[in-house]
Symmetry: C2
DNA sequence: TTGGGCTGAGAGAGCGCTCTCTCAGAAGGG
DNA sequence: CCCTTCTGAGAGAGCGCTCTCTCAGCCCAA
């Protein structure tokens, strides 16, 4: 009733276990007719190698931990990027026959759990998706002797290779677009400043405003729709004459559009709005949202390749992917 | 340089490997002072059990496959329910120290891969998230000698316990609400008929209409926003005098609202709209969407409990969770 | 005092696999 | 024709752990 072992395959094929193993692992030093006999036996018995036994001796597990370290705001969990990243990374890893072990690290308790698990050598490598700056996980994992890559630049300077999009450049693109279309009073709704994306996108905004001799008008949100609505109301109160706003992500931009509508401002006539991320919903806002697209899928696959490269002693250099301005109707 | 083994712990504590193992596994038959010595040794050496070795002998892996069998339309991947289900299930499984192995089964090739993997005994159980009817995976997996539970009733009759929400009842709730508010010509935008959700929600609609002596007006979408918009236009063409529409999911309802707006119909004055799912976006449509809420998180955790119960020889009865009408402004 | 029952701890087998070492036999060179 | 080289295949150790079996030592009743 038990699953067949290599021993059984060997017996059936009339060879030794070692030879059967060689066939299973595709070594060339097996005579064709013997290989065929073994393959037939494998097929007949429905043999599947026992991975526990295999990794016990090889010291490899062929599985990769995908650690999602979620910020307290939970914005990430509702973020469509979340599933896209996980999906893309999974597809890529499955293509090279690596298992994906999904781990959530939201509480300190689960942090400890993840650390213990990784330290336990259950996985060959770690892909870390961590978004908020105070996260102790990047530095904790970098101390372990396990290859780790990060989706997004870690907020604390730590020696982990990462893949990120050009947040600063993207924000510059957005604001420069507003400048070039003649907007004078360009505000921003920034993201949380303990997240890299929040920081960098604000930096990009500031850089362009400084260079174009405009005053910066800043409100801060937390990447949720509501916070975008609140921040927009606040900006309108602070400076009723503003004629453009760069919002650090699309979710907040949706909220901002709502507040603008409620305040009776026409978009883009009175106020131009540019978002960031190009989420699906950006196409369906009223008016459709001009935004910055960054290549989520590419970022995920680049992360996988970076990690796989690490296994073979490849370079540990960060990868920065370009962003792109998508012009719709809001600006 | 290698990770410490149980042998090392035993040596340091001055006991046998067997005793060290007893302590690690929390057996009571160890004298307190010896237990302490072992625990100290574990701590000092930073010992973590090797799971490969352990599962080699216990024949357990303590990991669960979360198989996402995606319909070709890819609607699921953009569905916010996707991440909610995965997240909830993960949290629940991690609480009982089970690993989550995420597997995507989108192509026939990856189907084979998943089957091979499951057959290989790499996991103790399978949670199957499969949405479209033609999926061969449920029946394939049910043949394997591995506990399997399904998120949502499998479309083909197959002997897998599942957790689902009451799609029929939910649809009835929605349509009955429209009837009770005096709507006369109630149309529906149904979901794909090769998905259980699509079928059942249409059934619920038909049941109530029949009982209340109204004619059914049906258009079919594929659960995407666009298809909802298209279907709505079609319905308006078919029966310009319709005064209500039950849409089988919120995504399509968003599209329908758009088409209604474009056609100059006021919601809910001219046409009442009820959706299904209560996704986040339903709160922010214009007007906010009346819809049917089903407990996604509860469904996911119930699925986990069902699977864990199976391990202990628990019942394999399907679990059906109730739905709830959420009244906003669209109906 | 002696024997039986019980408790706590060790010895050792074995889970299924890989991989080194060894060796038989064929091929090739002097 | 013999010795060396090479190739293909087997023997066997051992990865780190669990768990059964065994047994030493203790307590208590007879």
């Amino acid at each position: 009733m038990r699953r067949p072992t290599l021993e059984a395959v060997a017996a059936r094929a009339g060879v030794s276990r070692a030879t059967a193993s060689r066939v299973v692992n595709g070594q060339a030093t097996v005579a064709p007719h013997i290989r065929d006999a073994v393959l037939r036996a494998i097929d007949e018995l429905g043999y599947v190698p026992n991975s526990a036994a295999r990794s016990l001796v090889t010291q490899r597990t062929d599985s990769i931990a995908l650690v999602v370290s979620e910020p307290p705001t939970r914005v990430f969990s509702e973020d469509p990027l979340f599933s896209t990243v996980i999906r893309s990374a999974s597809v890529e890893l499955e293509a090279v026959n690596k298992q994906v072990v999904l781990m959530l690290a939201s509480s300190p308790m689960s942090h400890a759990r993840v650390e213990r698990y990784i330290a336990g050598g259950h996985v060959d490598g770690v892909m870390l998706i961590s978004m908020h700056g105070a996260d102790p996980l990047p530095s904790a994992l970098s101390r372990l002797r396990v290859p780790v890559v990060s989706y997004g630049r870690p907020a604390v300077p730590v020696d982990i290779p990462y893949v990120d999009n050009d947040n600063v450049g993207g924000a510059e693109l957005a604001v420069r677009h507003l400048v070039s279309t003649g907007r004078r009073r360009i505000a921003t709704i920034a993201g949380p400043q303990d997240m890299i994306g929040g920081q960098d996108r604000l930096t990009g905004y500031r850089t362009v405003l400084r260079d174009s001799d405009r005053r910066s008008i800043v409100a801060v949100g937390d990447f949720t729709r509501e916070s975008g609505a609140v921040a927009m109301r606040q900006l309108l109160g602070d400076d009723p004459s503003l004629d453009a706003v760069f919002v650090a992500n699309d979710l907040m931009a949706v909220g901002a559009l709502q507040s603008l509508r409620l305040a009776g401002r026409r978009v883009p006539d009175d106020v131009a709005v540019v978002g960031f991320d190009d989420i699906e919903a950006a196409k369906y806002t009223e008016p459709p949202l001009t935004t910055i697209r960054h290549p989520v899928v590419e970022q995920a696959t680049a992360m996988v390749r970076l990690l796989l490269g690490l296994f073979e002693g490849g370079p540990a250099d960060p990868v920065i992917l370009p962003t792109e301005l998508v012009i719709r109707d809001s600006a």
